[in-house]
Symmetry: C2
């Protein structure tokens, strides 16, 4: 073991990747896609499908599907190369993909609840639903301004 600081880098990588899966799977991201995302975050350069297949020990079809899914989420960018069909993947430089998904969820939730409020019989229920909707919208707006500030940061 050449360096005491490099204690099992493989293992640390793997823990990171699995941790990402443990966080993203409950949010509805399939296990393999979540692991791929963790893997790409740790990669120092864009990675080919074949490399992914080797490193993550999954089939190529699975890798292809997972990469495509991450692209849909805008979490990952695909870059072609001229002269070959090979595609390379890397994390998107726009980190807001997941945040935007949360924002959209809150918006739709608020819209649905407001709609429900309109067609609700009891006054109490109507009030409750309106309040909820506003609460969710307030949180969405907070995220939105946070993002604006972030973009405008030094």
């Amino acid at each position: 073991m050449p360096n005491i600081r490099n204690k099992e880098p493989q293992q640390i990588r793997h823990r990171f990747i699995q941790g990402m899966a443990d966080l993203l799977v409950p949010l509805g991201v399939p296990q393999t896609a979540a692991r791929l995302y963790g893997y790409l975050l740790l990669s120092d350069a864009p990675v080919s499908l074949d490399r992914i297949v080797a490193d993550l020990e999954i089939s190529k079809s699975t890798a292809s599907v997972a990469a495509h899914l991450l692209e849909m989420y805008t979490l990952v960018r695909r870059s072609g190369q001229r002269g070959t069909r090979r595609a390379l993947f890397e994390p998107s430089d726009d980190y807001s993909g997941m945040i935007n998904a949360q924002k959209r969820s809150l918006e739709r939730l608020a819209a649905l609840i407001k709609e429900g409020a309109r067609s609700s019989s009891s006054r109490k229920t109507r009030e409750r639903l309106r309040t909820m909707a506003e609460f969710y919208l307030a949180n969405r707006d907070a995220m939105e301004s946070a993002q604006r500030e972030w973009s405008a940061r030094k």
Copy 2:
């Protein structure tokens, strides 16, 4: 049809409930629990398990499990009654359950990524990870202050 405004209230209720399911299922909430939540949001008073069973046309065991799950999420409150074992369920008056879950997700994501940054070899990757973590934390903080303002609101 006694009232032109009451156009198929059953159907509207059902659409609301299903809409809630369509929104929550992608976030990892089981279909039945999501529908139950929608149902409770529209209810004007706390509801018993047997009533749920009748209205939602699900088995009692399923209703029990779904209600318990919603309690875990703190989306729903159970209130006992003295003199009987019967439990009643209603939406929690604290609407922050889902928001808090999102906040926790962001926190843990940021923590994991920071950890990954520390054990990352390339400078570029380290920077990327640090930036990401801060971005997620900024959003979490934004939600947190939004909630504080909300609690302090008129």
